[in-house]
């Protein structure tokens, strides 16, 4: 869609934190604020001042937010699980569907091109934490000009968090352990006649135990996901079918008999591209029409009934038209249908206008206006006593306007900057109302507005490379309506755990295969109560990374060292527990490339 801001995280940045979780990448490169319960623990996103339910996470185009919770725990998604990461800012509900209110995280698998690549490595960190991953990529030509390629990846992460001191400044570093393991299998079968069949499997398991030494008080949350997908594309027609099973096991004390909840999601999608000729004097119009059908079946011990099932259908029509070389427009329409109620009709319009188009300088104005929605989660509808089967879907209108400029020669390199204003009003905001024993209600109306400034600079000269990615965001996100006497104390206040100011910067210098990187992440204070009477102090974190590589024939070794939280900054998480101080990581990665 034109008019939307999309940030692609480059593969060099991803490979630098190849042993870490996606949350570490996103906090280093984007203004997304994370609500973090502690190292290795639950970490949810607040994108442009919205809640954890307002960020869609797509894996090869499929929304993988847990259908029960309607959100993703970013601590359970390792960088090892995908090849490509992009971030789409703002509402994109007409394209993505539910959940894409604050923004979307796009994870994708790439088809390998080289005959054989093998990579394996291990990272050791302070606190007895260990991360291991191995992957193999292959590509083989078949008869009849077809080609088979694929990737098999394994990862195993053990976060023991053996903190040498149980406290920092009298605040506890909570004893926890997280064991994470997974397998990724991608297969691509491609023909030269624009046909592709691909199969994708991602099995992942994340087991978190709080206070593991305390046999009566320990708490386990185990999140397991089986994600499978089959895609077939022939010229302009794409078919996709997927099955995802999300399992959550929770236990306290005796971990052998957890509460076991299982949710299956069957999703199929068909889409077809059309080109409409508008006559000899006009450029043709591109259209994409399609539909999606999803069936959910969930067995959750906390629900009023078991199992519950729900069907969701979506129809969409996306258009893109470039009347002149300066202008790109799009109009998108979507209608969702859900068992029991229907989300609103969801249109959006987007425009990009090339204000200045010179060889060495581009200035583009981008704007979009669109509706977003969020279908209630299964928990919100079906949880015993607290859930509300009649809760309405949330709906919002998002406006944004941005300027992007690109210099192809500035300060000896390339420079891109952007400034974006947004204004997103969400009605029928659903929440577990603490004033009515946490019953689910459509009570709030929230206005999130702000500005994002971003800069990307890259310079290459001979064996030297230098680069800087920096961003600053201001976000005011507040409740607009009062619903009882005491909510007067809440109206106009900043939403909890949404910092007003965030900043991030990544700077690197590289000489041949040796690279030094400095990272800064900063956030202003985060209110912890709805009336803003309590808050966690703002903080800034600095990480340093040094990496060097050497090659022997077709083999390559990468050694990397990290110093995290260099300044030993003290900061607190959601539970009012301390986050770790300065820590270290060292990794060795071996790779082999047959070419």
């Amino acid at each position: 869609m034109s008019g939307l801001k999309i940030q692609r995280i480059d593969s060099a940045s991803l490979s630098q934190i190849r042993y870490q979780n996606i949350g570490d990448v996103l906090s280093a490169y984007t203004p997304i604020a994370f609500k973090n319960y502690g190292p290795g623990q639950l970490s949810t996103a607040s994108f442009r001042g919205t809640s954890a339910n307002h960020t869609a996470v797509l894996w090869n185009g499929l929304n993988i937010n847990a259908p029960t919770l309607g959100q993703t725990d970013f601590s359970t998604i390792p960088v090892a699980g995908f090849d490509q990461l992009s971030v789409q800012y703002g509402s994109a509900a007409s394209i993505v569907g539910s959940d894409a209110v604050g923004g979307s995280i796009l994870l994708a698998s790439n088809a390998p091109a080289n005959p054989l690549q093998v990579s394996a490595g291990r990272q050791r960190e302070s606190f007895n934490n260990k991360h291991t991953r191995a992957d193999i990529r292959y590509s083989v030509p078949l008869r009849g000009h077809w080609a088979l390629s694929g990737k098999t990846a394994l990862y195993d992460n053990r976060v023991n968090n053996d903190f040498p001191n149980p406290t920092r400044r009298t605040y506890a570093l909570l004893p926890t352990e997280t064991f994470q393991k997974g397998v990724v299998q991608d297969l691509f079968l491609r023909s030269p006649a624009d046909q592709e069949i691909s199969a994708h499997v991602w099995l992942t398991d994340n087991k978190l135990v709080l206070t593991p030494e305390d046999e009566q008080g320990r708490e386990m949350t185990r999140t397991t996901a089986y994600r499978t997908m089959l895609r077939y594309q022939i010229r302009t027609l794409t078919l996709r079918t997927a099955w995802v099973r999300d399992i959550i096991d929770y236990a306290k004390g005796d971990l052998s008999r957890p509460d076991h909840s299982v949710t299956d999601k069957f999703a199929s999608r068909i889409e077809k591209d059309f080109t409409v000729n508008l006559g000899r004097h006009l450029n043709p119009l591109s259209l994409k029409a399609g539909g999606e059908w999803t069936h959910y079946r969930s067995r959750v011990p906390g629900y009023a009934q078991m199992p519950v099932s729900e069907n969701r259908t979506d129809f969409f029509l996306l258009s893109r038209w470039q009347p002149t070389s300066r202008i790109t427009t799009s109009i998108n329409l979507r209608q969702g249908l859900v068992t029991g109620f229907n989300p609103p009709f969801t249109p959006s319009v987007g425009l990009e206008y090339g204000l200045i188009q010179k060889t060495r300088y581009h200035l583009v104005l981008k704007g979009s206006y669109g509706r977003s929605y969020r279908v209630p989660t299964l928990n919100e509808r079906y949880w015993k006593d607290l859930g509300n089967p009649n809760v309405r879907p949330e709906t919002g209108w998002n406006k944004e306007l941005g300027l992007e400029q690109a210099f192809s020669e500035a300060l000896g390199g390339t420079l891109r900057t952007s400034a974006t204003f947004y204004h997103n009003r969400i009605r029928d905001w659903t929440y577990w109302n603490p004033a009515t024993s946490y019953r689910v209600e459509n009570l709030q109306q929230v206005l999130a507005r702000g500005i994002e400034l971003q800069l990307h600079y890259l310079r290459r000269s001979g064996p030297w490379q230098t680069g800087l990615d920096a961003g600053y965001a201001f976000n005011r996100s507040s409740q607009e309506k009062a619903y009882d006497n005491y909510s007067q104390d809440i109206v106009g206040k900043q939403l909890v755990f949404v910092p007003e100011h965030t900043a991030n910067a990544n700077a690197f210098v590289q000489f041949k295969s040796t690279r030094f990187t400095g990272q800064l992440q900063a956030a202003s204070k985060r209110y912890t109560t709805f009336d803003n009477s309590q808050f966690l102090d703002g903080y800034g974190l600095v990480n340093l990374l040094a990496e060097t590589a050497f090659a022997v024939e077709k083999c390559r070794f990468v050694i990397q060292g990290q110093v995290r939280n260099v300044t030993d900054t003290f900061y607190l998480n959601v539970r009012n527990n301390a986050m770790p101080g300065r820590s270290f990581a060292l990794s060795l990665t071996f790779s082999y490339d047959s070419q």
Binding site: R169, T170, Y171, A172, L174, P175, L210, T211, E213, D214, Q216, G217, R218, E219, K252, G253, L386, N433, P434, A435, T436, S437, Y438, R439, D484, N485, Y486, S487, D489, I490, V496, T528, T529, F530, D531, S533, Q534, V574, R575, N576, N577
Partner: protein, 360 residues
């Protein structure tokens, strides 16, 4: 009658002057920011470990929300379950959401400066504290917060700040009332207890308990030296010599309403309590009632105050009724002051989920 009152008050003034004078003689006047006022215990939101002790002078209508943090630059890191003070020492019960992180926090009574802690495994899920001489008794649920089958009362030597003994009390010990060498221990309404434990505070041994029709919640000792205990939907008057139940008053709960927050008036002749229930939409309703210790039944037709509270206490020096209001666990609550006839005085914004008061 009027004469008698006047005589009593002039006597009281004379007596208090004498006390102040004699204090001046023996001890220097206490120094600190929190010498004379009201301390509010805020439970906080359990999952955020953000409870606090708030403080205000009686003549003010704004409070310092978290005096421990103001005095020490660090928060208590848990919900505040109870507070008591002895001589120069204050003792705060702190309940953290994570196992093994609960504690007893000692503070200097008038400055609230940190004076050390006792944590797990001595203290697990502390509920209430009573100070007897140089000992503090802390009721603790222990680690079984799934069934509340066990529990204990920790005996703390206030001089060494050590737990000297754990006296086992089953079913999740909770409310404590001390009288004349005996500590009466009630149990949580979530447990299966239907007896009132009695601990002899000279031997620190548990004696035979008093059987009660429902979970026992001791209220206090009345003007006639009788012990009052709430048990289920009844209030019992118990003879402290014989442990016999002398009277049993029914509270009209309709089977759905829950009585709680019992507290005595200053003359120890009447009892205030809250009766509350939740409607289908999860909203709390209820009222605050008052009855006399000489009543033969509890009048439930009109409440004293037509709203429920999460905490209730009478200030011994001014006689005002203090009530805790929690709009929710995610915003600051209020301490609301009433005269004992139920008329409103004012309200003061405090911490999150105010449930108890300590007057100094």
């Amino acid at each position: 009658m009027k004469m008698k009152k006047q005589l009593a008050s002039s006597l009281a003034i004379a007596l208090s002057t004498l006390v102040v004078w004699s204090c001046n003689q023996s001890d220097p006047a206490p120094k600190g920011d929190y010498i004379s006022g009201v301390f509010v215990m805020n439970e906080g939101n359990f999952s955020q470990n953000n409870g606090a002790v708030s403080y205000f002078a009686r003549e003010n209508n704004t409070a310092t929300a978290d005096i421990f943090s103001a005095a020490n630059g660090t928060t208590l890191k848990g919900g505040v379950q109870d507070y008591a003070a002895s001589e120069e020492q204050g003792i705060i019960l702190v309940d953290n959401m994570s196992a093994g992180q609960d504690k007893v926090q000692f503070v200097q009574r008038y400055t609230f400066k940190d004076e050390g802690t006792i944590g797990a495994p001595d203290i697990e899920n502390p509920r209430e504290v009573v100070i007897v001489g140089r000992k503090a008794y802390v009721s603790c649920w222990g680690t079984d917060v799934a069934k509340y089958s066990t529990g204990y009362v920790a005996v703390i030597d206030l001089t060494t700040k050590k737990v000297t003994k754990k006296i086992n009390v089953a079913d999740g010990p909770e409310n404590l009332v001390y009288n004349n060498g005996k500590l009466y221990v009630g149990t949580t309404q979530w447990g299966a207890g239907n007896k009132l434990a009695i601990i002899n505070t000279s031997s620190d041994e548990a004696g035979s308990p008093i059987a009660t029709p429902g979970t026992a919640n001791p209220v206090g000792i009345d003007a006639n030296g009788k012990l009052w205990v709430n048990a289920g939907d009844k209030v019992l008057r118990i003879n402290t010599e014989t442990n016999a139940t002398e009277a049993s008053l029914a509270i009209a709960t309709g089977g759905t309403k829950t009585p709680g927050n019992f507290t005595f008036s200053n003359d120890l002749k009447s009892i205030f309590f809250v009766l509350s229930w939740y409607d289908a939409a999860g909203k709390e309703h209820g009222g605050t009632y008052k009855f006399s210790i000489s009543d033969i039944q509890i009048a439930m037709v009109t409440p004293l105050i037509a709203r429920p509270f999460a905490g209730l206490a009478v200030d011994p020096s001014q006689g005002l009724l203090y009530a805790g209001v929690s709009p929710s666990y995610t915003q600051a609550g209020y301490a609301v002051r009433y005269r004992t006839d139920g008329s409103l005085v004012d309200s003061i914004k405090v911490g999150i989920a105010p449930t108890g008061f300590f007057f100094q």
